[in-house]
C-alpha cells in the first residue's frame, strides 16, 4: 500500500469515529433526567418554549429520526440556538475559537522548548544527578492540579513581580504573546512531564544504537551527535506521545481559560453550563471532539511524512 492508500485508509477509519462522536453528543440530551426540554429551559421554561424545543429537536419522534434531524442540521452548519446569548450557537463558537487555538499553539511551542533541553540533559548522562532531577519532574508535575499551578504563576509573575498581566487575551500579536504566556506555560507544564518521560526513554534507546557508537567512534562532537543523530531519531516517539495527549491538552485549556479569564470556547462551555445553556454546551463538546479527531489525523499523516522508516503496509 502506498502513501495515498494510507491516507485513504486513515480517512475511512475516521468515519465510524466521527459518527460515534455525533451520536454521543446527540445522546447528551437524553441523559438529562426528566423532560429534557423542561430541565434545559429551567427558569426560562414556559409551556410555549417547551413545545417549541420539543418541535425543534423532534423530541416526540423516534430516536433514529431525532438523530437524523440532528445530523441534517449539523450538515447545514446549524448547531441550534443559544438559550442565553440568543443567536446561533455556531457563530458563538466561531467567535470564541481564536483564543483557544492561540493558547493551544502557544502551549505546544512552550512544551517543546521546555522538554527537549531537559530530556537531552537527562539522557546525556543516565543515572547522573541531572537525570535524577529531571526524572523527579514528572512525579511532581503529574499530580499537580493545573488550575492551581495557574494561580501560583499568577501570584508569582503577575501579582508580585508584575511582569505579565493577571488575565485576559491581550490585543494584537504582541499583546497575545504577552497575555497568553502564563496560560500557555500552565498548559505546557501539564504536558511536559509526559513528553520528557518518553523523550528521555527513546533517547536512551537511540544512544545504544550501533549508528551512534559508529558516529562516536568517528569523533562526532557531542552537541552535533545529539542534534543530528540522537534527537532526530528520538523525537518521533515523542511526537506520537504529544499527539496522543493532544486530547488532554485541549481539555486542559477549558480549565486554564477559566483561571486566566481567556474568552475561548472552554470558557464559553463553562459559562454556558452555569447559564444552563444546553445547546451551547452540546455544540462546544462536539467542536472539541472534532478538534481532537482532526489533530490526531494530522499527527498520523505528519508522522508518516516525517519518518521515512514508517511503513504504510500493515
Amino acid at each position: 500500500m502506498g502513501r495515498t492508500g494510507f491516507v485513504v485508509q486513515r480517512l475511512l477509519l475516521l468515519v465510524p469515529v466521527a459518527v460515534g462522536v455525533t451520536i454521543i453528543v446527540f445522546f447528551m440530551v437524553h441523559l438529562i433526567p426528566g423532560d429534557p426540554a423542561a430541565t434545559i429551559l429551567g427558569i426560562h421554561a414556559t409551556p410555549k418554549a417547551i413545545a417549541l424545543l420539543h418541535k425543534q429537536w423532534g423530541l416526540n419522534r423516534p430516536l433514529v429520526s431525532q438523530y437524523w434531524l440532528f445530523i441534517d442540521r449539523l450538515f447545514h452548519g446549524n448547531l441550534g440556538q443559544s438559550l442565553y446569548y440568543g443567536g446561533p450557537v455556531s457563530s458563538l463558537i466561531w467567535s470564541h475559537l481564536p483564543p483557544t487555538l492561540w493558547l493551544l499553539a502557544y502551549a505546544v511551542v512552550l512544551t517543546v522548548l521546555i522538554s527537549v533541553p531537559l530530556a537531552v540533559l537527562a539522557a546525556s548522562k543516565r543515572d547522573g544527578v541531572r537525570d535524577h532531577v529531571v526524572r523527579a519532574v514528572p512525579l511532581v508535575g503529574l499530580g499537580m492540579p493545573q488550575f492551581w499551578l495557574g494561580f501560583l504563576l499568577i501570584y508569582g509573575f503577575a501579582i508580585s513581580l508584575r511582569i505579565f498581566p493577571v488575565s485576559g487575551y491581550g490585543a494584537g500579536f504582541t499583546g497575545h504573546l504577552q497575555s497568553m504566556f502564563l496560560p500557555g506555560l500552565t498548559v505546557a507544564f501539564a504536558l511536559t512531564p509526559v513528553v520528557i518521560r518518553s523523550l528521555r526513554a527513546s533517547m536512551i534507546n537511540v544512544l545504544q544504537a550501533e549508528y551512534i557508537v559508529t558516529a562516536r567512534s568517528k569523533g562526532v562532537p557531542p552537541h552535533r551527535l545529539f542534534l543530528r543523530h540522537v534527537l532526530r531519531n528520538a523525537v518521533i516517539p515523542a511526537v506520537t506521545v504529544l499527539a496522543i495527549n493532544i486530547g488532554f491538552l485541549i481539555g486542559a485549556t477549558v480549565i486554564i481559560e477559566q483561571v486566566f479569564a481567556i474568552p475561548g470556547i472552554g470558557q464559553l462551555m463553562i459559562d454556558s453550563i452555569f447559564q444552563r445553556d444546553f445547546p451551547v454546551v452540546q455544540g462546544v463538546t462536539l467542536v472539541f471532539g472534532v478538534m481532537v479527531v482532526l489533530v490526531n489525523l494530522l499527527a498520523d499523516l505528519a508522522y508518516a511524512a516525517l519518518d521515512p522508516r514508517v511503513r504504510f503496509d500493515r
Partner: protein, 296 residues
C-alpha cells in the same frame, strides 16, 4: 539487543545460581525500594490525617463564624480561617477525606469495566474486538475534561454523577492495556493446553488469562487514581463537584482565589495537599510497577 544463542561460559568465582537468585529476590523486597517506601510513608500520613480528621481537629468544617473571618494562622486556627470564618485546617482535612474517598471508589468502576471489555476484545477478536475498539476510539476522541464536565453537567451535580462520568471516560485506558496483554497471553502454551483440555471460554479468561494480565491494569490504576483526584478537585474548582458547603479541596481553592493577593494560604495550601497526595501515589505506583513487572 540480539540474544546470544551460545550458553555463557560458567564463571568459577560466580555465586551459585541459587544464591544469586536469593540475592536478586532480596534486592527486590519491597522495603528495600526507597521510592516505594517514601511513597508509602507519604500515603500513610495523608490517608491517616484524612481518616482521623474528626480526632485531629475539634472544629466543625462547616461551622461559620463571621466575627472571625479571614484570620491569619495562629495557635487557635493553624491555617487561619476563610471568608466565612471556617477553620481552614479543619476544612482541609475534611476536604481531603471526601476527595480521597471519592477517588478511591471512582477508580474501581473503570478498572472493572475496562478490564472486562478489554479481555473480551482481546480474547474473542473479530467483531467483538472491532466494536469495543471503535467505542474506545470514540471515547478518546473527546478531551478527558470536556467529556467529564459535559457528563456531570447533564447528569446534575453530586457524587453519583462524578462516578458515572469518570467510569464512562476512564474505562478506555484499561480496555486498551488489558486487550494488548491478552493478545499476547492467549498465544501462550498454557492457554492452548487449557483449551484442548476442553475448558470453557469463560473459565480460560477468568482463571487462566486474567490473573496473568491484571497486574498491568493494577499498575495503571495507581496513576489513574491521581488523575481521578485531579478530576474531582478540578470539578470542585469549577463549581461542578460536590455542592457547597461541604468541604472539598477544589472548591476551597476556588473560594480562596479572590483572596490570592492578601491570603495566599487559602489557595496554595489545598493545592499543595493535592500535589503531595499525587506524589505519594505516583511513587507507590512506580515502585509497584518495578516490583510487579516480570523480568526485572
Amino acid at each position: 539487543m540480539i540474544a546470544s544463542e551460545v550458553p555463557p561460559i560458567p564463571d568459577p568465582d560466580a555465586p551459585s545460581l541459587a544464591t544469586a537468585r536469593a540475592q536478586r529476590r532480596a534486592d527486590r523486597r519491597w522495603y528495600r525500594q526507597p521510592a516505594l517506601m517514601a511513597g508509602i510513608v507519604v500515603l500513610v500520613i495523608v490517608v491517616g490525617m484524612a481518616v482521623l480528621a474528626p480526632v485531629i481537629t475539634s472544629y466543625n468544617p462547616n461551622a461559620q463564624d463571621l466575627t472571625s473571618s479571614l484570620l491569619g494562622p495562629s495557635g487557635k486556627h493553624l491555617l487561619g480561617t476563610d471568608q466565612l470564618g471556617r477553620d481552614t485546617f479543619t476544612r482541609l482535612l475534611y476536604g481531603l477525606r471526601l476527595d480521597l474517598r471519592i477517588a478511591f471508589i471512582a477508580v474501581l468502576f473503570p478498572f472493572v469495566l475496562g478490564t472486562v471489555l478489554g479481555t473480551l476484545a482481546g480474547y474473542f477478536g473479530g467483531w467483538v474486538d472491532a466494536i469495543i475498539m471503535r467505542l474506545v476510539d470514540i471515547v478518546v476522541a473527546f478531551p478527558f475534561y470536556v467529556l467529564v464536565i459535559a457528563l456531570v453537567f447533564v447528569l446534575g451535580p453530586g457524587e453519583r454523577s462524578i462516578y458515572i462520568a469518570i467510569t464512562a471516560v476512564g474505562w478506555v485506558a484499561y480496555a486498551r492495556i488489558i486487550r494488548g496483554e491478552i493478545l499476547v497471553a492467549k498465544r501462550q502454551d498454557y492457554v492452548t493446553a487449557a483449551r484442548s483440555g476442553g475448558l470453557s471460554d469463560l473459565r480460560i479468561m477468568s482463571r487462566h488469562l486474567l490473573p496473568n494480565v491484571i497486574t498491568q491494569a493494577f499498575i495503571y490504576a495507581m496513576s489513574d487514581i491521581v488523575q481521578d483526584i485531579l478530576a474531582i478537585v478540578t470539578l470542585g474548582y469549577l463549581g461542578l463537584g460536590i455542592p457547597p458547603p461541604t468541604a472539598d479541596l477544589g472548591s476551597m481553592i476556588n473560594d480562596g482565589q479572590n483572596f490570592l493577593s492578601t491570603h495566599w494560604q487559602l489557595t496554595t495550601i489545598p493545592g499543595l495537599v493535592v500535589v503531595v497526595v499525587g506524589l505519594g501515589l505516583s511513587l507507590v505506583g512506580d515502585g509497584l510497577a518495578d516490583l510487579l513487572r516480570p523480568g526485572r
